[in-house]
């Protein structure tokens, strides 16, 4: 199956993985996977969440150890026991969540990573090397800037520079485009192209078809821990890749026209001139007026950091109303606790499941019970009815066609499975109001469709949905109404059919109208 790339100076592969197998409790993450990586290539590793892409690369980087199989470097078997070993044979990896220290400068972060760091730092020399590399590969960053002041895209550049200065020849990037805006992603691909020309090997872990077709030379597809196939870019097409990624055909999203009359009855959620006071890095919400009725999906568009998180938290009760009032189901909930909000049928899918929704050291099943401990407790709380928790969870999992292990610690789930877990938990309680932030972040194509379908189903059943998202396509497909948040204020309120992506995009960035805020 391995195919020689066209421009290939060396005959053999730079690194070969042979029969790599790795299992975690409850999951076979990699089953006898073979992979060849050549110099001067961009190799995409494509697959759904939990297909085993990250695990395979973490084995190569020495982060995990394979149960069996071997790794060959230039044809000779080697053993990689730690990331340190991997770095010594010039393999580097950029993780999904970066590993930079925000309080230090770019140069300091890079210096920390270098092998053979002298006792006294030679700042000039390090800065010179950083500038060298950044000029050659278009990785412009200011070495003196603090990492905390950099944008996500710039932080990624620093991560790549870090590897380059440490002499890595093989760069592994774990879902690099996940956090990037479209134009930032394009810039990244250009950088990767430049690196490839100079003989670097780049492994791109991704589940986005677009990334793969845009820049990869060869594409390896994993499915459920197994190798589904390796293709040359020239042989690959979207259809072929989809067929390799999924065993069955995708069911397209079925958006029925809304059946419930809009503006009918008392709104499920109503904010009247609600304001919050920002703590730390949060954004203050200013005079928010918002209604979510039964049977409608209200979208909230905006660039991350303009008050979306605060809006979700305000609706839930996580932050207090400094001014104005909040009504849920027609009753004043301004000063009610989260417990009361939850108990009255509010589901909440936060933007980051790991930090905001789950207890990582408890099992998935235990996590399933957390939002409704009152419902599953027996004998006044002395006992929990785990059978019912399991039955409820499995029922929803089946309905959504999600599957993940229930008896493993939640932290061992992949990012996509965590998101699925939270969606299942929140849908299980058949909420009357759903607050969903970045619903499909980290989900693959199929799960994205399932998650969106679940929202539509909930709407059909008469629930209201507040959908916070940066994905305008998603908002335009799903929403009945749309508001745009900018700088903590509602910058616009539309029906999707009365506006277009460009108008909303301008409002999101504050580039149109009277929004002369200091952003």
């Amino acid at each position: 199956m391995p195919v020689q790339p066209a421009a290939q100076p060396n005959p053999g592969p730079f690194v070969s993985l042979r029969g790599i197998t790795k299992s975690f409790p409850g999951v076979l993450a990699n089953a006898a996977i073979d992979l060849n990586l050549y110099a001067s290539e961009i190799h995409a590793l494509l697959g759904e969440n939990g297909a085993g892409k990250s695990t395979l690369m973490k084995i190569l980087y020495g982060f995990y150890r394979a149960d069996s199989g071997q790794i060959l470097l230039n044809g000779k078997p080697i053993s990689i026991r730690s990331p340190r070993d991997a770095r010594s044979i010039r393999i580097g990896m950029v993780f999904q969540d970066f590993s930079l220290i925000p309080a230090l400068s770019v140069a300091e972060n890079i210096a920390l990573f270098l092998p053979h760091l002298p006792f006294v730092l030679n700042h000039k020399e390090i800065n010179r090397r950083i500038l060298d590399f950044s000029k050659r590969y278009d990785l412009q960053v200011n070495p003196g800037a603090l990492v905390s002041q950099l944008s996500i895209g710039e932080q990624q550049k620093v991560e790549i520079l870090k590897l380059l200065l440490a002499d890595a020849r093989l760069l592994i990037l774990d879902e690099p485009t996940r956090v990037l805006a479209p134009h930032e992603a394009e810039a990244l691909f250009k950088i990767l192209n430049g690196l490839r020309k100079d003989g670097y090997t780049i492994v791109l872990i991704t589940h986005k078809m677009k990334d793969v077709l845009e820049c990869a030379d060869r594409i390896t597809v994993l499915r459920g821990g197994h190798l589904a196939g390796t293709l040359l870019r020239s042989d690959a097409s979207e259809d072929k890749l989809v067929a390799l990624m999924f065993e069955k055909k995708l069911t397209p999203l079925n958006v029925k026209p809304r059946s419930v009359q809009l503006e009918a009855g008392v709104p499920l959620l109503e904010l009247r001139a609600a304001e919050t006071r920002a703590a730390g890095l949060e954004t203050s919400l200013k005079a928010i007026d918002l209604k979510v009725h039964a049977g409608e999906i209200v979208g909230v568009a905006g660039v991350s950091g303009n008050g979306q998180k605060e809006l979700g938290d305000l609706a839930l009760g996580m932050i207090k109303c400094a001014r104005g009032r909040k009504f849920l189901f027609g009753r004043d909930y301004t000063h009610r606790s989260i417990q009361q909000v939850r108990r009255n049928g509010v589901g909440y899918i936060p933007e980051n499941p790991l930090t905001m929704a789950i207890a990582p050291f408890m099992t998935v099943l235990q996590n399933m019970a957390l939002t409704r401990t009152w419902k599953y407790s027996r004998v006044g709380g002395l006992r929990m009815d785990w059978k019912e928790v399991k039955a409820d969870a499995e029922y929803t999992m089946q309905a959504l066609e999600f599957s993940f292990p229930l008896y493993v610690p939640a932290r061992s789930l992949s990012g996509g499975n965590l998101q699925r877990m939270v969606i299942v938990r929140e849908m299980t309680q058949e909420p009357r109001l759903i607050i969903a932030s970045y619903l499909t972040r980290g989900l693959d194509v199929q799960s994205t469709i399932a998650a969106r379908q679940a929202l539509i189903q909930a709407r059909e059943n008469g629930a209201g949905v507040l959908l916070i998202s940066e994905d305008l396509e998603e908002l335009f497909t799903l929403c009945d109404r749309l508001i745009v948040l900018f700088g903590g204020e509602v910058a616009g309120s539309f029906k999707p059919e009365d506006t277009n992506i460009y108008e909303v995009g301008h409002l999101m960035t504050g580039s149109e109208g009277q929004h002369d805020k200091n952003r």
């Binding site: 299992s23 409790p25 409850g26 999951v27 076979l28 089953a31 759904e48 969440n49 939990g50 297909a51 499915r223 459920g224 821990g225 999924f246 065993e247 069955k248 938290d313 839930l316 996580m318 606790s337 989260i338 417990q339 909000v341 939850r342 108990r343 909440y348 936060p350 930090t355 905001m356 929704a357 789950i358 207890a359 990582p360 050291f361 408890m362 235990q366 996590n367 019970a369 957390l370 939002t371 401990t373 009152w374 599953y376 407790s377 709380g381 002395l382 006992r383 929990m384 066609e401 599957s403 993940f404 292990p405 008896y407 493993v408 199929q446």
Partner: protein, 351 residues
């Protein structure tokens, strides 16, 4: 759909796990003893004979053994007073202070109502002791719950306040007519009953029962689940509708109540009187034991026992081997280091 090859998730069976824990701790203590043996050799003493002395004086006789149990009783409670708040992520270093205030409250009961029958007076003292400890823990707990001050710092600082208050009460109001530095002896009705003619008192039963209750609550109940969620991720727990602030205050107060109970048990069961500095670091000892045991109830019993053996034996080394009493701290420190290093002797046996 992701196809996941689900293998059965195997946890070691309950009994086997307990056995492993016990053997593991015993091996760790053996290691500490070997290291301390080296120190003894350097000091020119015979380690084998010294250990023989320690063991025969503590475990070798019924009397010695009972004395070990006696010194272990308050440690069980002060360790639990740390273990419980730790489940919700609170670090309670205030056991020492809570113990003093609890003892003072219980003493107040014993001195004010000497004519009540035991079956009324003892429960009253228990309630007063727990109330005192809880009040003392409420201060750091409440300040933490409103997001104002870290409970670690406040509970630690309050430790130096409590003994002063107790000293003031004794010297100012409660001291006996004949002796200005302690209260009069408690009436018999205010003393916890002892067993089999030893000094082992009812506090042992109280401590063990509370540890079992703690274990059951954490394992089976709704509150245990919610506490686990708070300990694992407080932000998420709050968003999931678990009343975080309420839990922080209540659990901190419960922890304080247990430490206060330790104070009550100590004055009622052991001394039968209250005097300044009666604790001699029981609260801190409980903190250490809890951390050594990783908050595990069975581990707390084991570690409390071991620490008691070391302390009781240390007294004897001073007499028979001419070693300064402080050397026993070296053995204790070795134990601390090794247990905190958590060597895993069962690596090979993991499936």
């Amino acid at each position: 759909m992701t196809k996941i090859a689900e293998t059965v998730n195997r946890f070691p069976a309950g009994g086997q796990k307990v056995l492993q824990t016990v053997v593991r701790y015993l091996l760790m203590i053996l290691l500490a003893c070997i290291m301390f043996g080296v120190i003894l050799v350097i000091a020119g003493k015979d380690p084998i004979a010294s250990y023989k002395d320690i063991l025969s004086s503590t475990l070798g006789s019924a009397y010695g053994f009972s004395e070990v149990i006696v010194s272990m009783i308050p440690m069980l409670l002060t360790a639990l007073a740390v273990a419980l708040p730790f489940k919700v992520g609170l670090i309670n270093i205030g056991g020492e202070g809570q113990l003093y205030i609890g003892a003072a409250f219980a003493t107040f009961g014993a001195l004010t109502f000497p004519n009540l029958p035991a079956w009324v007076l003892l429960p009253l003292m228990v309630i007063l002791g727990m109330l005192g400890g809880a009040l003392w823990a409420f201060i750091p707990g409440y300040l933490k719950s409103i997001g104002l001050v870290n409970e670690t710092i406040t509970s630690l600082l309050l430790n130096s306040v409590a003994p002063k208050i107790v000293g003031f009460l004794i010297l100012g109001f409660w001291h006996s007519p004949r002796d200005t530095v302690r209260t009069p002896n408690f009436v018999d009705a205010a003393r916890l009953s002892t067993f089999f003619g030893t000094r082992v008192h009812l506090g042992l039963v109280i401590g063990l029962i509370l540890l079992i209750v703690f274990w059951l609550v954490m394992k089976y109940t709704r509150w245990g689940l919610e506490m686990g969620a708070i300990g694992s991720n407080p932000q998420a727990a709050r968003r999931n509708g678990i009343p975080l602030a309420k839990y922080l205050v209540v659990i901190m107060c419960l922890g304080g109540a247990i430490a206060g109970l330790a104070g009550m048990v100590q004055v009622s069961g052991f001394y039968g009187t209250l005097f300044p500095n009666f604790s001699m670091g029981l609260g801190f000892m409980g903190f250490m034991i809890c951390w050594l045991a990783g908050g595990d109830p069975l581990g707390i019993v084991l570690m409390a026992f071991v620490v008691s053996v070391i302390y009781s034996g240390g007294n004897l080394l001073q007499l028979t081997r001419g070693l300064p009493y402080a050397v026993i701290n070296i053995l204790l420190a070795f134990t601390l280091f090794i247990v905190l290093g958590r060597p895993n002797f069962f690596k090979g046996k993991k499936s």
